[in-house]
């Protein structure tokens, strides 16, 4: 073993604050250290050339650089190693700038710590082993679960001569919830007819296989290589199997059923209907009461189920305002009263839409303590407003605007893909801000209302965002490079307690029932180290963070 240790002066940054000669003196006598040198600026062109020459000249087997933060130049120095044919994982960086030179004016203290960190790096690097990048074949095809607008849009954008899409829909037809909407807010553009057009395009696309009345039976495998089994809901014994590289979960949402909240009178009082009932009535062409007559007065109740579910569905205020437009067009003389709590109309076009919907026959009342009761042939709404308690209003028709709930029956998808569900039942994204459509399982994506309640516009955005991720990571003919620093389980030390299976966030560990030991799938493992910490028998090591590496590094650092 021949370790080369190189200390960067970083101009005056390290040279003036750390006594580099002292560091050299301390490192030189260490076992296996072949050479210790200082250099003005190792990250410069000259510096990199110097390191390359040194690796050759001294036939170094390991390299240690004492310089800046690994965030700055770890990759720079690993690249130098790679170019010189030295495995880049036989390298270790000691941060003596940010962690020594820049944090104190006391040169003695800085030097002392720089010596410790450099010695720790030398101790660690001796236990490094070469790690090699793997390459695995991948299948570019995609499974899309859910034939609503998100699933349709994702399928259309992904399908092509080199990529087949398997679009699986539980019900008998594509289109999802939005096929019932005559128009969309805020532009009142046609929706139902637009979706009909999209469905035709999907059906005519030779690269999209549509499976209706079909459910997911099983999803096995990992990013690039998933094996899918689906079954028909009509004849459960009819199954089909295919392979894909990625999975899109676009299972949508369903409106909250207000039947069990007695104050709304739904299913008990005639002419109390839900938003979806109203959309369908409007789409059929006529807005009428049960007796066939047009309503003279209509109340639209916002936020139905919000308190029960504990979140704002963000689209209910807007579609309630859209209902005003439907009513104004089909029954122009109707008096319309909106009962709301907080008007939630975020975005650049929504307020204008709201203002344009106001008129002589339209009222907005901020209410609380609402109660709906039958009053002969009319419906009575009792409520408190900002000034008075127990106000009353009689209307012919009540439209309830309920919150959106996640679609039920996802457990087989969730279990077999190992994605997670938040406390409200929506699927959980990899990162709330910067990774909203990917999940903790690589290659499994979420789009639309399965992720959370949202508008058609935002659903389309997410569907297209998913296609962006798939088109950039699953390229036909291109191999996938999994993480190098992954876990490994020693067969002889594993006691088969299965603790690791429970702590793995990625489903990378399975249990070999024959040998009674846990096994890591290195393609799925992301090297988080959870299993290493949890293993009671010390059978698991994380490559590049092995017990020996960490122990000897820490031992030197704290001596």
């Amino acid at each position: 073993m021949k370790i080369g240790v190189y200390i960067c002066e970083c101009g005056p940054n390290i040279a003036e604050k750390v006594d580099i000669d002292e560091v050299i003196k301390a490192v030189k006598p260490l076992d296996n250290v072949a050479v210790v040198e200082r250099f003005k600026l190792l990250c410069s062109q000259d510096g990199k050339q110097f390191l390359a020459d040194q690796i050759k000249k001294h036939e170094l087997t390991h390299l240690v650089v004492a310089a800046c933060s690994p965030r700055e130049h770890q990759q720079t120095f690993m690249d130098v190693c790679e170019q010189e044919g030295l495995n880049p994982y036989l390298f270790q960086l000691a941060n003596i700038r940010e962690q020594c030179a820049w944090i104190t004016d006391d040169k003695k203290e800085a030097t002392k710590k720089a010596i410790r960190l450099t010695k720790a790096a030398v101790a660690r690097v001796q236990y490094h082993t070469p790690l090699e990048k793997q390459q695995i074949e991948s299948n570019p095809d995609v499974l899309v679960i859910g034939g609503g607008i998100a699933g349709i849009q994702a399928s259309l954008q992904l399908a092509g001569p080199e990529r087949t899409i398997h679009l699986v829909e539980k019900t008998s037809s594509l289109g999802g919830l939005s096929q019932y909407y005559e128009k969309t807010f805020p532009d009142m553009k046609p929706c139902a007819s637009f979706i009909k057009g999209l469905i035709e395009t999907v059906k005519n696309n030779p690269h999209i296989n549509v499976y209706t009345n079909t459910e997911i039976e099983e999803i096995l495998g990992f990013f690039g290589n998933f094996e899918i089994t689906v079954k028909q809901t009509t004849t459960p014994e009819a199954t089909a199997a295919f392979e894909v590289g990625a999975v899109v979960v676009a299972t949508g949402a369903t409106p909250f059923n207000p039947e069990h909240i007695s104050k709304y009178g739904y299913q008990k009082i005639e002419n109390v209907i839900t938003a979806l009932d109203f959309e369908q009535m409007n789409l059929s062409g006529k807005i009428t009461l049960k007796n066939g007559k047009p309503p003279k007065s209509v109340a639209i109740i916002h936020c139905v189920g919000r308190e029960e579910k504990g979140y704002c569905s963000q689209i209910c205020c807007m579609y309630s305002i859209k209902f005003i437009r439907y009513l104004q067009k089909k029954v122009p003389s109707t008096k319309i009263t909106n009962f709301y709590t907080d008007l939630c109309i975020p975005g650049k076009s929504q307020q204008h839409f709201y203002e344009q919907s106001l008129g002589n026959h339209v009222d907005f009342i901020r209410m609380s303590d609402l109660q709906i009761t039958k009053q002969s042939d009319k419906i009575q709404i009792t409520y408190s407003n900002e000034k008075d308690a127990s106000k009353k209003l009689s209307v012919d028709m009540v439209i309830l605007s309920p919150v959106l709930e996640p679609t039920q029956g996802l457990s087989s998808i969730i279990e077999s893909t190992r994605i997670s569900q938040g406390e409200k039942g929506f699927l959980t994204e990899e990162h709330e801000k910067i990774a909203p459509v990917s999940t903790s399982t690589e290659g499994v994506f979420i789009a639309g209302c399965s992720h959370g309640p949202k508008s058609i516009e935002e659903t389309m955005s997410q569907a297209e965002a998913v296609t962006g991720h798939i088109l950039t990571s699953l390229i036909p003919g291109q191999k996938i490079e999994p993480e190098v620093k992954v876990s490994h389980i020693s067969e002889s030390f594993c006691i088969g307690c299965k603790t690791c299976l429970n702590v793995c966030c990625y489903g990378a560990i399975t249990f070999d029932d024959l040998k009674k030991v846990s096994v890591v799938n290195e393609v799925i493992c992301r090297g988080c180290g959870n299993c290493v910490a949890a293993c009671p028998s010390g059978a698991i090591t994380l490559k590049h963070f092995t017990h020996n590496q960490v122990y000897h590094e820490v031992k030197e650092a704290v001596q």
Partner: protein, 425 residues
């Protein structure tokens, strides 16, 4: 007919979080990306925030790794201090003229040691810190800015005012200061353009009844973000202009909403976040949120709201708000939800202003020949789609350039634009 071979490179305009996301994704698909950024740094508005709602993650911790990845990505060419001067061609074949201002500091030689700052004799207000502290004529906007390379502000540098100063050059050990750098103009050929130019804030001086600019301790949301930031002007100490800590604070929502005519969708949530900022530093502070309609859409935000309410804020539905000086403090008079005139007294007022398009939007729209809407945000071609296609094929609009939105939705739109580009190519 002769069909032109489309250019495969992509231009991304704006290195905020949306632009960074789009660039990194395109690079992953082996596309060469030109990322141009008007300022000297990456990260846009998001790097000004100490923490982001609703999980209160440290914004720098979230962004620094992807900023660093961006700088090290070999498929991405970052042009800082750059703007678009002209565009020719059509989808697949755009020729874009870029003007790149001189930084006067060599990006390769500079190691970011900051030794050049101290000797500089010039001090001016730091725009990045909303003018809350000063910077030198050679500067980085804040500690941790990436790329960690300073620039020389030629408007204030003595040398560019015909005086003989070489203080920064003398202090630099790496021969990185180059007064002879010249502004450059060059053309790039790209197949598609993603516009991610972000937002600006409503000018709170236009609503004088909130006292901004006339009363000492009335802050805008961005000023308050910097006041709380650990790399900001006070290193995270929340203090009044005179230096003492506030005993009470009021956060006024919807500033400029009436004037702009839309709800910016993020203000209620970041105003609630400020409750956490205040209570984490000053546990005994009394906090009021004055709002009109609480807009907290989405699966996780109500829980966040409840958490903030528990942390200690009084939510007041208020209209006709007026802020005036009252002794050492300020009095806020308003009409409450029962239409009664009432008032509270506080030490600090934080205004949550509406998000506006970036001031360069109109100019850029003209150069790119793409449409804007009534509010002068870039206009999407079709609202039934994902809203990232502009009025011109091959040009995409993402993030707050398209309309006010949160980080999650900006990142989603950036990824959607990448999806559109790769799906059509």
């Amino acid at each position: 007919m002769n069909k032109k071979e489309p250019f495969s490179d992509i231009l991304v305009v704006g290195a905020g979080i949306a632009g960074i996301q789009a660039s990194l994704m395109l690079s992953k698909a082996k596309k060469n990306v030109h990322l141009i950024e008007k300022t000297s740094y990456t990260g846009g508005a998001s790097i000004k925030y100490e923490e982001v709602f609703s999980n209160m993650e440290c914004s720098t911790c979230m962004l620094a790794p992807i900023q660093q990845q961006l700088l090290q990505d070999k498929n991405i060419t970052l042009h800082t201090l750059s703007t678009i001067k002209g565009v020719k061609g059509s989808q697949g074949n755009y020729i874009v003229t870029i003007e790149k201002k001189a930084r006067y500091v060599d990006m390769v030689n500079c190691i970011g040691c900051n030794a050049c700052f101290d000797p500089c004799p010039v001090s001016v207000k730091n725009e990045f810190e909303e003018g809350l502290n000063e910077r030198k004529a050679i500067f980085v906007p804040c500690a941790g800015a990436l790329p960690n390379v300073p620039m020389i502000d030629t408007e204030h540098c003595l040398r560019f005012k015909n005086k003989k100063c070489t203080a920064c050059q003398e202090a630099c050990m790496f021969e990185a200061i180059d007064y002879n750098q010249k502004d450059e103009t060059f053309d790039i050929k790209v197949g598609a353009i993603i516009v991610a130019t972000g937002f600006s804030l409503f000018d709170t001086q236009k609503t004088p009844h909130y006292g901004y600019g006339t009363l000492d301790d009335v802050y805008t949301a961005l000023e308050f973000e910097r006041l709380y930031a650990s790399n900001g002007p006070t290193e995270g100490t929340i203090q009044l202009k005179k230096g003492d800590s506030p005993k009470s604070a009021a956060i006024i929502h919807c500033v400029g909403r009436k004037e702009q005519g839309y709800c910016s969708s993020v203000c209620c949530l970041y105003s609630l976040k400020f409750t956490h900022y205040l209570t984490s530093k000053l546990p005994d502070i009394k906090i009021y949120n004055l709002y009109s309609d609480l807009c907290i859409p989405g699966k996780s935000h109500q829980k966040f709201y409840e958490k903030m309410k528990d942390a200690g804020t009084t939510l007041l539905r208020a209209d006709a708000i007026k802020v005036e000086k009252k002794g050492k403090s300020m009095e806020i008079t308003y009409t409450d939800e029962n239409n009664k005139k009432t008032s509270i007294t506080v030490d600090m007022v934080i205004l949550a202003p509406a998000l506006l398009p970036h001031p360069d939007t109109m100019g850029l729209a003209k150069t790119l020949d793409i449409a804007v809407d009534d509010h002068e945000f870039f206009k999407e071609n079709d609202t039934t789609s994902s809203c990232v296609s502009s009025s011109k094929p091959g040009i995409y609009i993402v993030g707050c350039a398209q309309g006010p939105k949160n980080i999650q939705d900006s990142v989603t739109q950036a990824s959607a634009a990448v999806g559109k580009i790769l799906s059509s190519s």
